[in-house]
């Protein structure tokens, strides 16, 4: 039984912004399935009375003073940009912009 269908892989790939070939979609649907099934195990012991742990060592309130440090030089900022113009990053047309 497949837990993750081809359609589901395609939906998730779109959400993750990864173009997949049809062959990749097929392959991942099969492979992810194995993993997801093995992961169902986790739920066997993750009962409501067990609290979740997000960090290995419990710490709280790690704050920084509100004091500026020098910014990266603009040349460094843009050095790796695939495209730049007027001190800004040039990116393809953004859908959903007004």
């Amino acid at each position: 039984m497949s837990t993750i269908s081809r359609d589901e892989v395609a939906r998730v790939a779109a959400l993750a912004r990864i173009d997949l070939s049809p062959e990749e979609v097929d392959r991942f649907a099969g492979e992810l399935d194995v993993i997801v099934e093995s992961i169902a195990r986790v739920r066997e012991v993750a009962t409501p009375d067990v609290p979740a742990t997000s960090h290995p060592l419990p710490m709280t309130n790690v704050f920084r003073e509100d004091v500026p440090t020098p910014a990266l030089p603009v040349a460094d900022v843009l050095a790796a940009a695939p495209d730049a113009e007027d001190g800004r990053f040039a990116v393809p047309q953004i859908l959903g912009e007004e």
């Binding site: 779109a14 500026p68 900022v77 007027d86 912009e97």
Partner: protein, 505 residues
Amino acid sequence: MTTTSATPVALVDYDDAVRRYDPVLGIEVHVELGTRTKMFCSAEQSFGADPNTQTTPVSLGLPGALPVVNGTAVEYAIRIGLALNCQIAESCRFARKNYFYPDVPKNFQTSQYDEPIAFDGWLDVELEDGTVHRVEIERAHMEEDAGKNTHVGGAAGRIHGAEYSLVDYNRAGVPLVEIVTRPITGAGERAPEVARAYVQALRDIFRVLDVSEARMERGNVRADVNVSLRPTADSPLGTRTETKNVNSFRSVERAVRYEISRQAGLLDAGDTVVQETRHFHEDDGSTSPGRVKSDAEDYRYFPEPDLVPVAPSRAWVEEIRATLPELPQARRRRLHDEWGFADAEMRDVVNAGALDLIEATIAAGASPAAARKWWMGELARRAKQSEVELAALAITPAQIGELQSLVDSGRINDKIARQVLDGVLAGEGDPEQVVVARGLEVVSDDGALLAAIDEALAAQPDVVEKVRGGNQGPVGAIIGAVMKATKGQADAKRVRELVLERIAG
């Protein structure tokens, strides 16, 4: 995209709409905090810097960079929470809100999800006529701002001849607090006013708390306005629309009005309101649907593993509470009592933005009545003439205080005072300096006055006769002559006394 939101709809007349439908609002306000550095890194933040000159590897989202929370931003968030009568969380966390967008450098926004720093509060907002409407606050949470995209038209056509955008990450990572209301009900036809007054009240609070410059025109404060209609106050909530980034008080009011009229049109036509994001258009006050996002808001929130929980100690929270400044509404109430103005007078003062000016004028020695008289009278008239705000007039409360004390001490009279005002506004200096320079001091030396009086009496013996005969009516003619002779600088009351003494003499 659905047909209902794309096709033009017949707007229903506003008054008609609110007669037949009950509007429910929900308002999300984002305020940029005025900290020196960003939410999660030490890049300086200030308005108007050159593009991409205020970034670090963290705010650029470079591989390997890690966030560290700005403690001052947390303090500001707590201040805001307390001012809005919220509970402050014993412990709360940041979460990642995952979505791809070029102005979000990490392709997730570090925000708070199910554990906001402040929750369950309220704010009483006062409308212009003094009506108070309580707005319940669901939560206030911390997050970071995005960068700024500038859309470049396709004519230049660099990327395959298509349009493209330029991105500046200076704003990326600027600390924000987002304040979310519970559904605002019961406002009825006054819903647009309530929305406006609420946003305005928040803006005033941010300023008093000194957590933000809160300048609407700079986008320091931005509102997203949710509107839905239902047949009656007992009906279940209708489908809402969210109009994003409404950036002035007036626009908030207009956007709500428009949506009420538009949604009423849809419902009247038997259509359904589509739950969607809409954009407000300043030019005609309308809203239009935004593009539908393919990801359907699946933000995949999870606790930010690069940050640890924020657990403000109760001692810290109480320390912040103890140092909160007096909030605008409490201050208005206190001043109202202290000054003894009538309700209507007080409202006019508040609506004219004269509260601070009058308070400062009183602090400079004037009586409340005198301070109000100047700012709401002569100065309001001049501000209106010049089409500027009261506070923009070239005169200070201290100068008005000085002016009034000159009047009170009898050195000038009210009429002269207006001339002094002219001088101050013309940049001739403080009132005292203007009086001296223009030679406007009231002539109070009886000797000088008596000379002028004697001259006037000698010139009008018939008047003297009439007065001696018991008819005091014509005495004004003598006083007028004296005032004329002293160029108006004599104290008219004193002149009258002396004239009567002289005639009786």
